[in-house]
């Protein structure tokens, strides 16, 4: 086909040729292969689009960070135990448990010792109080009591009443005495 005897590709066909020339009708494809003008139009548009893509690539930044893939996981579940992270964690756990047990033991010993001290103090205090009470009852030492023949003086209530009568008794006696006097 001669390019001067047939109409050149229109806008629609030119774009179609850029998208995919194989989709054009056979006659148009044949014209395109022979017509330098239409071929140049197609190539120019195609080149412009390609250049646009290259320009975008040129004006786009380059990646700076590297791709980091996830850490490889061992299929053996016990294989990870030998990992140094896990070993450190295990050592820290054992140390913490040891410190906890040791601390509890020390605290318990301390409280027991304190209880014992308190008990001993109480025992001493009781002993001291019994001595004080003994002295209050009998201020003289036992040897003097023996000399006085009153090691174990056992005065009864009646004797004390005789020595020091109570006020009621005194009042009663005086009233009775007064009555007695009046009666007599």
């Amino acid at each position: 086909m001669k390019s001067d005897t047939i109409q050149h590709l229109d806008e629609h066909q030119l774009i179609q040729a850029v998208v995919d020339a194989a989709d054009l009708p056979q006659s148009v494809q044949a014209h395109l292969s022979e017509c330098s003008q239409c071929l140049a139009g197609q190539k120019d548009f195609q080149r412009a689009l390609t250049k646009l893509g290259q320009k975008a690539e040129q004006y786009a930044p380059r990646p700076q960070r590297r791709i980091v893939l996830p850490v490889h996981q061992s299929k053996n579940p016990f294989g990870n135990l030998l990992n140094w992270h896990n070993l450190i964690a295990a050592a820290a756990t054992v140390t913490a448990v040891f410190i906890l047990v040791w601390g509890t033991h020390i605290a318990r010993n301390f409280s027991e010792r304190r209880t014992e001290n308190l008990t001993a103090e109480m025992r001493n205090a009781e002993k001291l109080m019994s001595e004080v009470n003994t002295l209050v009852d009998n201020p003289l030492p036992p040897i003097y009591l023996e000399i006085a023949g009153e090691k174990k003086p056992d005065y009864d209530e009646e004797f004390y009443q005789f020595l020091i009568p109570t006020i009621e008794d005194k009042t009663l006696t005086s009233v009775q005495g007064k009555r007695g006097t009046s009666l007599c």
Binding site: V19, A48, E57, Y59, A60, P63, Q64, I67, P70
Partner: protein, 206 residues
């Protein structure tokens, strides 16, 4: 960690690529690291073209490769690894944009990603002219692409920015090839009529 030194050759042929994908599927970490090296920049750029934030693009790229590493044993067709990887990338980008829109509801000031296109150049310290050119380029691209419907926008980016074939785009977007061609045709037809795009294309050719 994916090594980026020159000791491990980056696969160039499709046979090498398929072989690496097969090895990675079988659990070979080193093979996956090589695949990551091969596609790191592509995935990063793909994210950046849509997010226009370097830091977010870095995060999403990392996320994409983690996801791919977890799911590679389930890949059906090793020859379609690239399409599969880009499909994961698009899903991650959609997740990110959804979260961003949700966060924007609670912010007084709406962050427009297109208004910060030069976030990309922060770490590179370009000279002032290059910085302005870059900024202007991304501003124009943002304005032009914003006029396209979502599907046409995506197909255009995949075809001319991410350099995928029609077949690969169909695989990534899970549509048939004729649908992809229709969307691409519509996008190009609109660009032809768009003065800003024509001007940009003429600038690019010069």
């Amino acid at each position: 960690m994916a090594s980026s030194d020159n000791t491990t050759p980056i696969p160039d042929t499709s046979e090498q690529l398929v072989s690496l994908v097969d090895q990675a599927r079988a659990g070979n970490r080193s093979a996956f690291a090589q695949l990551a090296d091969r596609f790191h920049a592509d995935v990063f750029r793909m994210v950046f073209y849509r997010i226009r934030s370097r830091a977010d693009a870095e995060d999403i790229t990392q996320d994409v490769f983690l996801k791919a590493f977890q799911k590679i044993s389930g890949i059906q067709d090793t020859a379609k690894f690239r399409a599969w990887l880009f499909s994961i990338t698009l899903n991650r980008i959609r997740d990110f944009q959804r979260k961003k829109r949700f966060r924007a509801l609670f912010k007084a000031e709406n962050e427009n990603i297109d208004s910060h296109p030069t976030a990309a150049s922060d770490g590179e310290q370009p000279d002032a002219l290059a910085h302005v050119l870059r900024q202007d380029f991304w501003r124009q691209i943002g304005l032009i692409l914003k006029k396209l419907p979502k599907m046409e926008h995506e197909v255009f980016l995949l075809r001319y920015f991410d350099h995928l074939s029609i077949k690969e785009i169909a695989g990534v977007l899970k549509k048939n090839e004729s649908t992809i061609k229709t969307h691409l045709y519509r996008a190009l037809a609109k660009f032809k009529k768009e003065p800003a795009m024509r001007q940009l294309l003429s600038e690019v050719i010069q």
